[in-house]
């Protein structure tokens, strides 16, 4: 923020509020849409959209704006997703935290590569997430699960990512950018 030399006014209360809300935007927006997706909207595949949306958001923000998607926020989002979804509590928390960790670790190399490579990396992460979720729930409920929910979830996550990435890139450069406050 202060890299450009020059004189600027002291930051007032409004300015600080603006900066804070821009920092909070990614986490809050993810949570609000998650709550909306749990409402009876009658969208096909709504149950699969919830974890996919959370996964894509955590991936995107951890890559491009990790300051706005800290591990605590990821933890809270995972907990919300678990409580809404009705599965064993802790599964989504673990998955989102792992995805967050991978994204933060690989951001140096990924952030400079093009969209296709980021999408491909997301595909891998989503496949691992779906597989892990499937395995953990099978383990925790001690039941043999049919594989299609995991496949469907993976497909939804990979399918919605390009659309979401376009929207989130707009937010990344606009409302979620504290440097523009």
């Amino acid at each position: 923020m202060d890299k450009v030399p020059g004189i600027r006014p002291r930051s007032g209360l409004w300015h600080q509020l603006d900066v804070a809300s821009r920092y909070a935007f990614p986490g809050v927006c993810t949570a609000v849409v998650l709550l909306l997706l749990s409402a009876p909207l009658g969208i096909a595949g709504q149950a699969q959209l919830q974890p996919s949306w959370a996964l894509a958001c955590v991936w995107f923000w951890s890559l491009f704006r990790p300051a706005s998607m800290p591990a605590f926020a990821v933890f809270a989002l995972g907990l919300l997703l678990d409580l809404i979804g009705g599965g064993p509590v802790g599964v989504q928390v673990l998955i989102l935290l792992l995805v967050h960790g991978v994204a933060v670790k690989s951001r140096r190399s990924l952030i400079r590569s093009g969209f296709a490579l980021v999408w491909l990396a997301f595909m891998t992460a989503a496949a691992a997430a779906a597989l892990l979720e499937w395995g953990l729930i099978a383990l925790l409920t001690w039941r043999a699960l049919p594989p299609w929910p995991a496949l469907f979830e993976f497909g939804v996550a990979v399918g919605i990512y390009p659309v979401l990435a376009t929207l989130l890139t707009g937010a990344h450069r606009g409302v979620a950018a504290p440097e523009r406050a």
């Binding site: 709550l35 909306l36 749990s38 409402a39 009876p40 909207l41 009658g42 709504q46 149950a47 699969q48 919830q50 974890p51 800290p70 591990a71 605590f72 990821v74 933890f75 995972g78 907990l79 919300l80 678990d82 409580l83 809404i84 979804g85 009705g86 599965g87 064993p88 509590v89 802790g90 599964v91 928390v93 673990l94 935290l97 792992l98 967050h100 960790g101 933060v104 979720e133 953990l136 729930i137 925790l140 409920t141 039941r143 699960l145 049919p146 929910p149 469907f152 979830e153």
Partner: protein
């Protein structure tokens, strides 16, 4: 605020993720060890969200109904013809039912049959499909002083929906018969074979532990069985369907689009067998 050195702050920042990962694993174990804790947290969240769901649902269902009535106008003729045919068929069945009812009443009076107690039920509106990818349940909006309790049985107009698993201040959760954790003792109506209806998170639950000697027929009616004293006998569940060698049951209830369910209090012991020995199911009729 405590001032930390840069190194200490960096070390803390590096530690956050591993610690949170360990905490998430702890949450899983906690959920296994005492399922009541996540259940209560879930119910608090559901209670808070139920009014939001109702608010979202009201305009949406108005739009849906308007679209449906427009669609209905187009199919008026064919629908009318179909209904006429069905009405003729039903009139025949009505006569049969009246005759059987009269015969049944006469036989019961001859047998000194103790009449079944009248059942109490509450009707509740389904406010949300509360299921996730690996769970099938619905959220009901119930009043603060409702009689809804855990273990009570939910039915829609056509058949069994599931069982109440959690009750909050303003909402209650019903585990659908298609959920992975749903296990229901059933009887095949014609062959009288006993089986367990197990949900697999797919639209059609499966039949497990069917007696070897039994040969279930395609389209045979499946009703609940009073075994384990969790359900009264004879509630309609669905019809038998062979899907590639697997025995499945097509649910009679419209589980994809549940709007209103009735919650019946059969006064049964629930999943846990009753303590009093020799206690039998109080009611054995389908409502």
């Amino acid at each position: 605020m405590i001032r930390l050195s840069i190194q200490a702050r960096q070390a803390l920042a590096r530690l956050t993720l591993p610690v949170l990962i360990v905490v998430s694993m702890g949450l899983m174990l906690l959920g296994r060890a005492s399922p009541l804790v996540p259940e209560r947290a879930r119910m608090v969240l559901s209670d808070a969200l139920a009014p939001l769901y109702v608010a979202v649902d009201t305009p949406l269902s108005a739009v849906r109904n308007a679209a449906q009535s427009v669609r209905d106008v187009f199919f008026l003729r064919s629908e009318n013809a179909k209904l006429r045919l069905e009405n003729d068929r039903l009139r025949h069945w009505y006569d049969v039912a009246m005759a059987l009812d009269a015969e049944n009443a006469e036989l019961k009076s001859n047998l000194h049959w103790v009449p079944d107690p009248t059942l109490s039920f509450v009707t509740a509106r389904v406010v949300a499909d509360a299921g996730g990818v690996y769970a099938r349940s619905v959220l009901l909006s119930v009043g603060p002083n409702s009689d809804v309790r855990r273990g009570q049985i939910a039915l829609d107009a056509n058949g069994l929906v599931g069982r109440v698993t959690e009750v909050g201040a303003r909402s209650a959760r019903v585990l659908l018969i298609t959920d992975l954790n749903s296990r229901i003792p059933v009887t095949l109506e014609k062959t009288r074979a006993r089986a367990i209806l197990a949900g697999v998170n797919a639209p059609d639950p499966r039949l497990l532990y069917v007696q070897d000697s039994a040969r279930p027929e395609e389209g045979e009616r499946v009703v609940t069985s009073a075994e384990a004293n969790a359900f009264p006998a004879g509630l309609p569940v669905g019809t038998v369907h062979y899907a590639g060698g697997r025995l499945e049951v097509v649910p009679a209830a419209n589980l994809e689009r549940l709007e209103i369910v009735r919650i019946f209090d059969y006064g049964l012991g629930g999943v846990v067998p009753p303590e009093a020995p020799g206690r039998t199911a109080a009611a054995a009729i389908s409502p």
